[in-house]
Structure formats: C-alpha cells, structure tokens
C-alpha cells in the first residue's frame, strides 16, 4: 500500500550529498514530492526534509540505503501522524478581484492568511499550514484572479523522536570511550 512519508535526515554539510541521496531514490523510481534543505539546530549539520509516496517496505529500504552514506548522520521516516509539519505559500492576486465582496475579511478570519504587500494592481498574501489548507486557500482565491502562486517544501518537527543533539552527544561520548577501531578488513 502506497502512502505518504516524510523522510527527515541529518547530514554533514558536504558537497554532493544531495546527489547521492537523490540517486538512491531515483534508482527505485521514487519521486520526491517536496524537499527542503536547511541548517539544523546543531551547527555544521544540515537537515533535509523530503516527502515521498511509496510502500512501507520500500521506504525502509531506501532509508537504510541513505543512512549508509558516509556523510549521512541519521535518517528518520515518519508517517504524517508522527509529525507536525507546515508548508508556506505565497499568492499574488489582482487587487480589484480581492477587494470585491467580503473576501479580504474571510482571508484573515477564516484562512488565517497574512497580507504582505498591497499595490493598485496586486496584493500578495502569505499562508502557512498543511498542504490541504494551502490548497483550500488557492481555491478560495481563484475567482479573484491568481497571478502567481508559489509554495514551499514541507518542514517538519517530530513528535516522539529523540533530539538530534542527544544523538550527536551519544555518538561523541561513544567515540571518547572507544578503543582503537577494529577495522574489519585488516
């Protein structure tokens, strides 16, 4: 059964790592529906959030293959219930269209959107929320003439997973107590 998953992963900030990750997904014919790259709470550690639709079995296989990459620190796979996620969207609509009726009021009251800029020709509206909410607002604005629409990738915060900081601390602690690496191939 195909399902939507959010893969969030932490990597070293090294060139090429994104290519390596997408290669793994491409080989398995998994489309990345959205991707967001940002700094994480730990300096020097990059965070990627990707949304993919695939089977539970496949998402686990690719997660393991991604985690195997030398520059990848940790990979988490979440179903939508396990995360709090947001997307952000900007809408540019005609001023004349938006000013008619009670649309402006509904925009703020019902859709919790913000107005960023007003000119005689257009108004720029900002909305953050779930994908559904953003799509709903787009439908609402459609009648007044949408000149441009852009939405971000998903960003997500997990509900139950251990903080990355804690992981890194543990790893470094293990490193300090570790004896010489027992390399397998000697």
């Amino acid at each position: 059964m195909q399902q939507e998953y959010t893969i969030s992963l932490f990597t070293e900030d090294h060139i090429g790592i994104l290519s390596r990750i997408t290669l793994i997904l491409t080989r398995r014919q998994i489309n990345i529906e959205s991707i967001t790259a940002s700094e994480s709470a730990v300096s020097g550690v990059q965070m990627l959030t990707m949304v993919v639709t695939t089977t539970p079995d496949m998402v686990n296989k690719v997660a393991r293959q991604i985690e195997k990459l030398v520059d990848v620190i940790k990979v988490f796979v979440h179903t939508n219930q396990e995360i709090i996620s947001q997307e952000i969207a900007l809408y540019k609509v005609t001023t004349s269209g938006l000013m008619s009726g009670s649309m402006i009021g509904d925009l703020v009251r019902l859709y919790h959107a913000r107005i960023l800029e007003v000119t005689p020709e257009y108004i720029v509206v900002e909305k953050s929320g779930s994908r559904e909410e953003i799509t709903a607002l787009l439908a609402f604005l459609e009648p007044c003439g949408v000149l441009q629409f852009v939405r971000s990738g998903r960003i997500a915060i997990t509900r139950q997973v251990k903080e990355l900081n804690a992981y890194l601390k543990e790893m470094d602690a293990a490193e300090r107590t570790r004896h010489e690496p027992s390399e397998v191939y000697n």
Binding site: G16, K61, E67, V70, M171, E175, R178, P181, V184, Y185
Partner: protein
Amino acid sequence: MKEMKKPAVEQDTNNHESQITGAEALLKCLIEEGVDTIFGYPGGAIMPVYDKLLDYSDSLRHILTRHEQGAAHAAQAYAMVTGRPGVCFATSGPGATNLVTGIANAFLDSVPVVFITAQVTSGLIGTDAFQETDILGISMPVTKWNAQVKKAEDIPDAIARAFYIARSGRPGPVLVDISKDAQFASLSYSYRKCTYIRSYNPVIPLQMRDIESAAVMINHAEKPLILAGHGVILSSAADELRALAEKGAIPVAATLLGLPAFPNKHRLFAGMLGMHGNYAPNVLTNQADLIIAVGMRFDDRVTGNLKKYAPEARIIHIEIDKAEINKNVRVDLEINNDAREVLEALIPLVRQVSREKWIREFRMLDRIEYEKVIRPETEPDEGELRMGEVVKTVSDLTEGDAVIVTDVGQHQMAVARYYGFNEKSTLVTSGGMGTMGFGLPASLGAASGNPGRPVIAFIGDGGFQMTIQELGTIMQYRIPVKILLLNNSFLGMVRQWQERFFNSRYASTEMVNPDFVTLAGAYGITAHRVTRREELHEAIKTMLAAEGPYLLETVISREANILPMVEPGASVSEVTLTYR
C-alpha cells in the same frame, strides 16, 4: 591561482623544508598507509604526481598497466590477496572514465580500493576544459565515498579519510579527485590517520540478546543450513564459521565469492548456491527449517525466484551492512554486525549435536549430481576436452594451495564448481558485476601482491580479448602468472543461453580467434596449446612448474553447457540437472 601554477621546483626553493608539494604529500600519505604498490596510467593532469613517483621509487612500486580498466582490476585483486586496500592512479578525463568499470566491479564485490584521479586545474573545473570530466558525479553511484581536492593542504585529510572509509565496515572503493594546481601547490605537511568520522559508524556494538535468540533458533532447528558469503572472508571469520558448523552439525553452502570460506572437501560442505551451483544446496534450501546467512546478500543469482525461496525456513541474517538486511529476502532475525564477532559470540551458545539424517540428504543429492553432471564433466573417457576436467586437473595438482583468478563466463562457473577450495585458497573473481575482461589484469594484480604463491588465471577466449593488452604489463614486469585459456571459440555462456532459450540461434557469439600461442610469443610469454586429453595432465604440470609467466591454451568442446542450472524465473529447488 597564479602562484599555484608556478612549477614545483621553484616553490621548493622559495619555501622552508617542511613545505612540500601536494603531489609529494599524496605519496607520503600513501606510504603512511602502508602502500607499497600502485597500479596506474599517467596523463597530463596527473603528471606532477608521476614526476614525484620517480623520487619515491624505493618505497612505492608503480605498475604501468596498458589500460586504466586493467589498473583498476589489478588494484582490486591486489586488495583481495593482501587484505590491504589497493591503490590505483589515473589522469583526468578519459583516464578517469576508463576506471569506471573497475570501480563498479570493486563496489559490487565490497573490495577496498583507493582510486586517485587527477582533475584539471581548479579554475577550469566546470568549464568543459580539455580532458575534464565530472568523475565525481560519474563515480558517485559506484563508490562508497568520493571527494574532490582543490587545495594542496586538504590532500592529507582526504587521503586519510579515503583509506579509513575504504577498509572499515563493509569495505568498498573510494575515489579522490585532485586538481592539477593542488598537486603543484605546496603545503606544510603532516599526517594523521583517520579513525573516526562522526556521520559514519562502522563499528557496531554487539547485542547479546540477538545472539542468544540466534542460538535458540539454531538449537531448535532440525534442518539448519548456513549460507556463507564473501563477508566471511572479508571479516576473517572462516575459522569461526567452521567451528560453528562443526559444533552444530550444520551444512554450509557458499556463494561464488564465499567458496574459499569453507573447505570444499569437508563433510559439512554443501556446495555452491544459485544459478550454476550444486544440486543439493539448491534443492535443500527449500526444505531447510532455518537459514543462517553470513556475510551474503541474497543476490538474485543465488535466490532464484524469490516468491518460492526457502518457504519452510526462518532466516537469521548476519550482515555488516544494514541496508542489505530485508532488502531482497524478509528475515526473522537480523544481526547487523561483523561476521567474526557474531560467530565468536554465538559458538559457545550452540549445542553440540549431530544431524546425520539431514546431512545424508545432501549426500544423496550429491550422488545424483555426481553421476549426471560431475563425472561426465570431470572424468570423460572420450570426446573433446571439457572445462571441468581441465579445472579438476589443476585442482588436484595444486591441492587448493593457489590464488585462483577467473574471468567471467562458463569457465568461471566451471572453476567455481570443480576447483576444490580450502583454507589455503584465494579466489579472485568478478561476482556481483560479472565483468568480462577482469581475469587477466586481476591476475597480474594478484601476483604483484603475493610473490611466491602460484597465481592461476582461468580465462575464456572472449574475456581474454577484452583486456588482452595486459600481456604487455605481464611482459614488462615479468609477472609470473599462469594463464589457463579455455578456448571454445564461443562466447560460451551466451551461446548456452541461446541454445536453451533462443532456439540455438547463435547470434554473434561465435568467434574467429587469433593464434593465441603465437600472440603470447610476441609478448615473450612461453605458451603451449593442448587439444588432446592424453596431454592435458603433463601440460598443466609443465605450466605450474614454469618460472615466469606462462600461457596454456586448452582447446575445449565448443558447445558444452554448464549444468545444473536454476533457470530464470525458476525456484532454486527446480534446479535442472540435464537439458533434453
């Protein structure tokens, strides 16, 4: 940029003694990592490194192959016989792209090789400069790790990481691409071996709970079967494997690369798995109630049809690479760790038992295979020479004490089936990728890493001609490899499939071959051709006794087939013993 382009000599005079060029630093790093042999091929971008090599010829031997692919395979074979990472140099552009087959081959068979490619001057990278290719991008899917270095001072750290990553965890090839200006520029040199990378944890703590579960499963099983792969050899776990098998009376079947992991004459040896493996282990995989897979990855050539694979068995998978677990086959117990450590911990918990009835089932099927396939192949009384008898003769004469190299095709399967591997044997073959042309360059790499041990390369007439130019390398360095050419004048393995699955329509598989004996002679390599059974034994003895390189061409049956066979789509238990 401008300063960096100054010739190295000039810089040296301008700088203090601790300052050396990037090119020299690279060589010093290799020496620190214990490297003594490099396989490679020069060209414009890597010339600063080659220039410095002249100054280090006392500690670093460079073997000039005749093609970069040959250098890559040689370096891999060197790693497989020495247990130390192989090292391979190539220049930018075509030099680098010529490596790709060799890199991919090492990747699929988990062999540590450090590839050093040169890159055009950093200011030109990305401009489609002369002999610039994006080797980082090209090699990404087939390296464990790769990196580009554009500053001399970054070379030591990159090399340290390269070696650490290549040989730790599940080993594999890595590539470091060094721009020409970084080779010329100087740095103040110091070297520290890499022992830790935050994002990479090859050493995994052992979970005793899992080991205990495994022991319980083994102790309760009636028909357990061990599947041993290359990982057993990579982790030096052959002794532990044997101890476990003997204590628990568990038959051991091997993958192609796992064959030397268990003495093939041992009463518990079940044979090779998979497409052209032995009858008993294929059939009995589907009767086993427990499969203990050690350092193997359930390749499709091993499992046949996955839907009908091991239906009766619970599966324990002992594997250092977590991504291999549950990839092809769902397992009941995953033990993500080094094979030797796991087996060591497991042995004391396994009960000493005997399983005569289960072991007898293997012997019964062995007898059927012997009568129908093995005897006619290895002890024919008439007809043309057969691959099996050639391999068997070499096996008997060397008693397993040799480095056995193969190319890819029918002859490779004949070697796998009819050479008796034991603890003294090393097998160098292309498993995961099945790269024709691997054999000859691999044999010279193996011999360079293992002076004193006999190196015998079984090569088909097709594959031989894919990298035949390496005869030049063998000649130049007098590398004492014994080349056993199995000449059937066909791309035999493909011809077999055409016979079986395409109505014997031999599309482009028959070959008009050169006179190989004369050809070897042109390279100053002693050579001899055998066509008759009566001469075979003596001819092989002569080959084995020869001092230097030697080529023995055996003219074998043109249209012989490798059997048994698990045909595409069939289950392992549906293994075919004979055609027609």
